[in-house]
Structures are given as C-alpha cells and as structure tokens.
C-alpha cells in the first residue's frame, strides 16, 4: 500500500465537514427558507392589504368631492410599506419566535423518543395516548394524591415510561411487530387514562400547581431566560440524546439494529435489551411531552393529544428518519417539528384557514420524503 493510500484511509473527515455534506444542514436551510418565505409573504400581504384599503379610502373621498390635494392628508391612510414591514417584524420578532418554540416543545419532546424508535426500525403509535395518560396521572397525583409538583411530574413521566417499557417487552417477548403492539397500546393507554380520570378531566386547584404551570409560560421581555424553561429542557435533552446516538454504544447499536437486525444480533448486540430501552425511552419522552401539555393546560385531560403520534412521526420523517430503520437524526426531527410549527404559525398570521394549513403540511411531508429518496438514488 502506498503512503498516499494509508493517508487517505487514516486522514480524518472532520465532523463539521461531514455535517456540511449531510442532509441536516439542508434541512436547517429549508427551515430558514420556509421561515423567511413567511416573513416576506406576510409583509407583502399586509402591504397589499393596506394599499387596497388606501385606495378604497381615496375612492370614497373622491366620491365625497374632496379635492385631490386634500385627499392624501386623510388620517385613515396608512403607509403600505411601513405596514408590511411591521407585520414582517412581528413574525420575525422575539414574541413570535418564543411562541413557535413553545408550540414545538410538546411534539419535539415526543419526537426525541420517536427518533430513537424509528432509527431502530420500529414505530410507536401510542404516543398521543401516553401524553394524555401522563397529564391525567400528574393531575391525579396532585389533586387526589396530594403530592408535591415534582413528585407528581415524575410520577406522570414514570407512568409513561412504564407503558413504553411494556410495549418494548411485548414486542420482544411476543415477537409481534411494533406497529401492532403499539396500536394496541394506543387503545390500552387511552383507556387507562380515561379510567383514572373516571372519563372526565381532572382539574387541579391553582395553589397545588406551584411552578407546574410555568414550564411553558411566556417569559417577560428582557428576562435572562429568553424562552420558557420547557424549551430549554427540550434543547438540553435533544443535545444529550444526539450525543448519546453518536458517541455511545447504545446509540450505535440502535442504528445497527435498524440497519440490519440479524447482523447486530450475530455481532453480539443485545437486540432485545436495546429495543426495550428504546421503547421505554420513547415512553419517557412522550411522558415529558405530557408534562409540557399539562403545564400548558393545567388539567389532566384523558381526551387530549388524539392523533399527536402522527405529528410526531411526521416530524421525524421530515427530519430524514426512515421508517425502514437505520436512518434519522435528532437535529433533523427537531427541525422537522419546527418546520411544521412555522407553517402553522405562518398560515395563521396570513389568515389562512386551518384546512389550508393541513394541506400544506401534508404536501410538505410527502415532498420532504420524496426529496430524501431522490438524494438516496443519486448517492447510489
């Protein structure tokens, strides 16, 4: 072997370079692109609206016989450019960014777990139910159990993690595919949540909540925290999970199982053990999502978050996760979740009805995955 070849083998590809070549950067760029698309679109929309209003006013004034020189001085006239500029700035502003971050937190939290599950080649359809269950358990522990907020929160998250663990055990012991087990678990957990709540919402007295309703509460302007504690928690956990996926044996084994389960088993990876851990983590993060949900609404609602799992799966899939396993990233999933929130928020501020948002989100999911496939085919 020539020294050149040895060098080419041993020369390290820097992580930054690899990242720049990867799909995550493109995804981040797509997010920024979509965001600024809305910034511009909202600006233009408001500008155009103002101009139309101005013209109407001018027309009215003309009808009333006001002389042309006087018309322009009417107090109702607004500057179209300035109005568009303000609207854009509102979308770009700290308040809106914070709202987007807050709205992403629940889906983002659950997406951390779902990313692990999907990379390992599985899927978890019970996430929405688990979120509901943990809100109910937290409320129940606070109200009926008389526990403190920390114990109640931990209890809710633990209950969620337990059901994830149970899914994992059933999947590995019964050898039933995750789709079926978690489909069943979706109903079981939803039922359990309704049972605990006796088919009703559990309201919690305000003084029992203490800090529990502040996790996602808006942060006052100029406060050092910038965004609510819940968002920070998501950020820290996301970094932690991403590092775990990249640098630990567990993380690499999750990829290996998703890529080729039989090979992983042959090479001494404890496939069953890893899967149980992955589903338990999936439940845990769904439970944290439930904690955030509870914090926002401060009730234990067994009927909340129906179908949330689909949003979570969509976030992971937009972020480059492959339902066949072996692919996916935490950054991608978080960006995927953000893309969905930005679209929702942008559409709302443009005054587009809900159904338009839904169509756009649907199209984005398919387009994102199609583009990803295209990239794969090119690579082949």
């Amino acid at each position: 072997m020539t020294s050149e070849q040895i060098e080419s083998i041993t020369s390290e590809r820097t992580p930054l370079k690899a990242w720049l070549q990867g799909s995550s950067i493109k995804l981040v760029m797509a997010l920024v692109g979509i965001f600024f698309f809305f910034v511009v679109a909202i600006g233009i929309q408001h500008g155009v609206k103002t101009r139309a209003a101005n013209q109407r006013i001018l027309a009215e004034l003309a009808e009333e016989g006001v002389p042309e020189a006087e018309r322009a001085k009417d107090s109702r006239l607004e500057d179209a450019w300035l109005n568009g500029w303000f609207a854009s700035n509102r979308f770009l502003g700290r308040r809106n960014l914070e709202t987007i971050a807050r709205q992403t937190t629940i889906v983002g939290m659950a997406a951390l777990g779902m990313t692990l599950v999907i990379i390992s080649g599985g899927i978890d359809l019970s996430v929405g139910s688990v979120v509901a269950l943990s809100t109910v358990v937290i409320a129940w522990l606070l109200q009926d159990g008389g526990l403190g907020p920390l114990t109640a929160a931990l209890g809710g998250v633990a209950a969620a993690a337990f059901f994830g663990f149970l899914s994992g055990v059933l999947i590995t012991r019964l050898r039933v595919v995750p789709f079926i087990v978690t489909l069943g678990m979706m109903l079981v957990v939803r039922g359990a949540a309704k049972g605990i709540g006796r088919e009703q919402k559990i309201n919690v007295e305000v003084d029992r909540l203490r800090w529990l309703d502040e996790l996602l509460a808006s942060v006052p302007k100029g406060h050092w925290m910038l965004v609510p504690i819940g968002v920070w928690l998501l950020l820290v956990l996301a970094i932690g999970v991403a590092l775990m996926l990249r640098y630990t044996r567990l993380g690499r084994h999750i990829f290996a199982i998703g890529s080729n389960e039989e090979t992983a088993r042959l090479c001494g990876v404890g496939v069953e053990r890893v899967k149980v851990i992955v589903f338990a983590l999936g439940g845990l993060f769904a439970g944290l999502g439930g904690l955030m949900q509870f914090s926002r609404l401060t009730v234990g609602d067994p009927t909340v978050a129906v179908g949330l799992e689909l949003d979570v799966i969509a976030a992971v899939v937009i972020g480059g996760g492959s339902l066949a396993g072996g692919e996916g990233s935490i950054l991608g999933s978080i960006v995927g979740a953000l893309i969905m929130t930005v679209i929702a928020s942008g559409c709302t501020q443009m005054g587009l009805p809900n159904w338009v948002q839904e169509i756009i989100t649907g199209v984005i999911i398919v387009v994102a995955v199609a583009l990803d496939r295209l990239r794969h085919r090119r690579a082949d």
């Binding site: 070849q5 041993t10 044996r249 567990l250 690499r252 992983a264 072996g326």
Partner: protein, 512 residues
C-alpha cells in the same frame, strides 16, 4: 509431512459424529470434518446435502443432537452464534450480513466497540478497523465510508475484516463468490491465500467445482447428510467430485436433441437502453437456444429487461412475433414472452405466496367462470408442474420461501411453462441451485427447443443469459458475449471455444 493422529484432536477444528434430525428428516448423520491451521477445506454437496446445517451447528445457530467438536484440541460447544464468534469461529454468509447504514469501521467493530462508561472510544475503533483492512490493500475501504456505498466485493471484505478483528481462528465462507465480479473473485482468492499463511483454518463452501479446485487444499463431499468422501484436491478430478455429489455419473449433463431452427420469433436491431445495453442486435429462431455470456455488469440483464419492458428502451428496433416496438411487461406476457428473473428472491417469486399462486401468477384466467379463481383448479394446474418438474414440496399450498433454491427455481420456471409462452427469456437460470436441478433445467430447455410433434407441442425459442460459459457452450446452439453494453457477434457453438469467448467478454482484441 506426517499425518496427524485423529484421536488427539490436534487439528484447528474438528467435528466428529455430528447428527441432526428435523422431525422425520435426518439432516446430518454422523458427519465429521477436520481442518488444520493454514488449510482450506472445501465443503461441497448439492443443496440439501447438509452443508448449511453442518455450518449452523458449527456457528452455534442450531444445536446438534449428537456429536463433538474441538477447537485447537479444546472441546467446543457454542450455545449461540455470539459464543461461536467469541471462540473464534466466524461465518461469512452468502447474503451479506452488514449494517448498510453504518460506516466500515463501525461494521468491523460492531458488538465489541471499546467504550468507557458506554461512550465509544472512536480513536481506538478507527485504529483497529484500519489494522483489519490494511491487509486488503483496497482504497475503497476507508474507515468512515458508509457500507452501502461500497461495491459488493468490498462489502464482503468488510465482513472478512470483521472476522479478523475478533481474532477468528476458523473462517467459514459460504458461497462467497456468487455475486462477485471476476476481478473481485481473484482478489478474494489472493486474500484467502494470505489468511492461510497467517494460519487461519478456512472452510470454503461452493457450488463451483472449478473454484474449489483452485482455492482448496482438501475437499469433503456431503450427500444426503453423510460424508461421501474426503480427498486431497490434487488427487481428485472435477468429474469425480460431481459424481460423488450426485451419487451417480453425470455423463449427459447437457442433453442435445436434434433441433431445427424455424422462423424468426424475436428480432432486435441496435437496441439501446438507458445506460446499457449500448448496442445489441440478434435474431432468435423458433426451435433455437441462444446464449448471451459476458461478465457481471456487461449489460446482459439490462438487455433482457429492456426487451421485456422492465427497463427503458432508448433506441433500436424490437420485433417479437408479429409485434414491433417496445412494450410493457403486461403486453409482453400477452405477446407470448416470459422472463425468468436472475433475482429469484427479490423479483422472481412472491416468497410468502404458495407454489400454486406463484405458478399461476402471470395468467390467472381459466381457473373458473367470470374471472373467478377457483383454488382447486389452480392447485390442479400446479400439481401438473410439481410432478413434471419434480418440485419437492408438501403440496401446491406451501409458501415458496420454505423451499430450497433449486425447487424455488423450478417454481419460477413452471410459471413460464404454465403460461405456455413461446419465447423464454432466462436470466441466470441455474444460479445458486444444485446439480440435480441444473440437470433438470438443461433437459427442460432442450425439450422446449425441440418440441414434440407427438404431444402436439411446437418448438419454443429460448434466450439464456449466463455468466457460466461451459453451461452456454453445453446448452445453446449459438452464443454471443456482451462486453461493456455491446453485444458481440453470434457464433455457432461448434465453431467457437471458451477461450475466444472469454477474450471477447473481457474486451480483448480477438486475434485470428
């Protein structure tokens, strides 16, 4: 060199008196093999002879009912594949077992990543992976290259590197060359030579006797779960090995009746596809067997696929019977052509469906009134071919995935027969199947091309693509080879030899 005494189990690997029974069938009956350090033992036998069962016992995937094993004289009883690997017995399977999404280094170190508190020490992973692949001298094997981007040959080297990285003492290669190019095969054999020098014991399983002759020191032949014989490789001829495998002399592997070429049923002129073929012209007559040889990647499969409408046609003329121009697979079937895919598992068969479903899949009419498919009639059609082709199965309702390779291929062929096509397009019809099934397919091809006036069967036209030249020479009337997307001139088999075809296939100038 003095032969070592058997009873002291001093060989690197020794298996003795291994028995395994699955229900009523005896898969292994008192089987014993011995491999010394620095030796390549070839293990040959037809499909179902017990090779893979024996190797599963060796690798800990299944437990033998009876029998003993020793590694370097120490008793060896693996409870599972993992224990076997840790003991130093590594298997390189026919189907690659890699994690395609991970990097070369991660695949090599998978399951034994050095770690501190669960955090992988990547520097060490890298160092050990580089050590493991250095020997192979293959620039494609960068440690952080994603495995799915590598060629099949390189992927196989990653598997071997993984075996070496765990410090294997016994390396089992199961049909390692079945999907490799000639160049990769040569490289693999060179590496096997090096591993021998390092003192590894190698068990080499293959259908290709020529390969075995080239690479092995000794050969053990299995048949029906028993060892038929073991011999030094120089002391035995290819014919003798084949005779031991099938238990009878195969004097007439390639039967050839007197065929009479009739009208032209398939004609292509300057056919070009998306990338390959670049240019191909041929005429196929009724009552003729035409062969296309060449190296893997020359564009032969693409030619058949373009013909059959599975791949685009960019330019050129195709005429099939009275129909001209390209057509979809649906139309091709209606026009009386059928394609046997080279990839039985992924494309050729619907693995989870039954024998009967697979045989009747291309034409589900005539099994009942008004397009209704009556299972009884479907079964009856299937029975006919099960009998005729000797498909070994429990019945027409058995899923094909539980059949052996040779029987699966019979099912795939039966579909063309049941459809009663006129033009048979056969892509690697004998890949990965045993000698008995091969012989049957050769007989069948001859029978199809000859026809039978007594039974009122007209002669058919057969176009075969194969990488195995002796097979083409044996079974075809005319052959041509493809090289880099271009189809060479047709030769009558009497007027050409393998040497000349090989020169054409490798793109050498043919010297007259």
């Amino acid at each position: 060199m003095a032969e070592r005494v058997d009873s002291d189990h001093s060989a690197r690997l020794e298996m003795q008196g291994v028995c395994k029974r699955f229900g009523a069938t005896i898969a292994l009956d008192e089987v014993g093999i011995r491999v010394s350090s620095g030796e390549v033992l070839a293990l040959v036998g037809e499909n179902g002879a017990g090779k893979s069962t024996l190797m599963k016992v060796l690798s800990g995937a299944i437990k033998a009912d009876k029998g003993l094993m020793w590694l370097d004289g120490v008793s060896y009883r693996p409870a599972n594949p993992l224990e076997a690997r840790r003991a130093g017995v590594a298997m390189i399977y026919q189907e690659l077992s890699l994690t395609p999404h991970l990097s070369v280094q991660e695949n090599i170190m998978l399951g034994m990543e050095p770690a501190t508190l669960g955090v992988v020490r990547w520097k060490e992973v890298r160092r050990r992976a580089v050590d493991a692949v250095r020997e192979f001298d293959n620039p494609e094997l960068r440690p952080d290259a994603q495995v799915s981007t590598l060629s099949v040959g390189s992927q196989q080297l990653v598997e071997i590197a993984r075996a070496l990285a765990i410090g294997c003492r016994v390396l089992v290669l199961d049909e390692p060359t079945s999907s490799l190019t000639q160049q990769d095969v040569d490289r693999l054999f060179e590496i096997i030579g090096r591993l021998k020098k390092q003192g590894k014991a190698i068990v080499y399983i293959s259908h290709f006797i020529e390969e075995v002759k080239r690479v092995a020191d000794r050969v053990t032949v299995l048949r029906d779960g028993r060892v038929v014989g073991t011999s030094e490789i120089q002391a035995i001829s290819t014919d003798q090995i084949v005779a031991m495998m099938v238990g009878r002399q195969v004097d007439e592997l390639y039967p050839r009746s007197s065929r009479r070429a009739g009208e032209v049923v398939l004609e292509i002129e300057d056919l070009a596809g998306a990338e390959k073929p670049i240019c191909a012209s041929l005429e196929l007559h009724r009552g003729e067997v035409l062969g296309i040889g060449g190296l893997v990647g020359a564009g032969r499969t693409e030619l058949l696929r373009s013909l059959f409408g599975l791949a685009p046609v960019r330019s050129g003329k195709i005429r099939l019977g009275v129909y001209t121009g390209p057509a979809s697979p649906v139309r091709r079937w209606l026009q009386g052509a059928g394609l046997l895919s080279e990839d039985r598992k992924a494309e050729g068969l619907a693995l989870s469906l039954s024998v009967a479903e697979n045989i009747t899949l291309s034409k589900l009419s005539g099994f009942g009134p008004l397009g209704v498919v009556l299972p009884g009639r479907q079964d009856r059609a299937a029975y006919r071919w099960i009998e005729k082709l000797g498909i070994r199965c429990r019945g027409p309702r058995q899923p094909v995935q539980s059949l052996s390779g040779g029987n699966q291929q019979r099912v795939a062929l039966a579909r063309l027969l049941q459809h009663d096509v006129d033009v048979f397009l056969l892509d690697e019809p004998t890949r990965g199947i045993d000698v008995a099934a091969k012989a049957l397919i050769y007989r069948l091809i001859d029978d199809l091309a000859t026809g039978s006036p007594a039974e009122g069967r007209k002669p058919k036209a057969v176009l075969i693509v194969s990488s195995y030249l002796p097979e083409l020479m044996g079974v075809c009337d005319r052959v041509a080879v493809m090289c880099r997307g271009r189809l060479g001139p047709m030769h009558r088999v009497e007027e050409v030899d393998e040497h000349k075809l090989m020169l054409e296939a490798t793109g050498q100038e043919v010297r007259s």
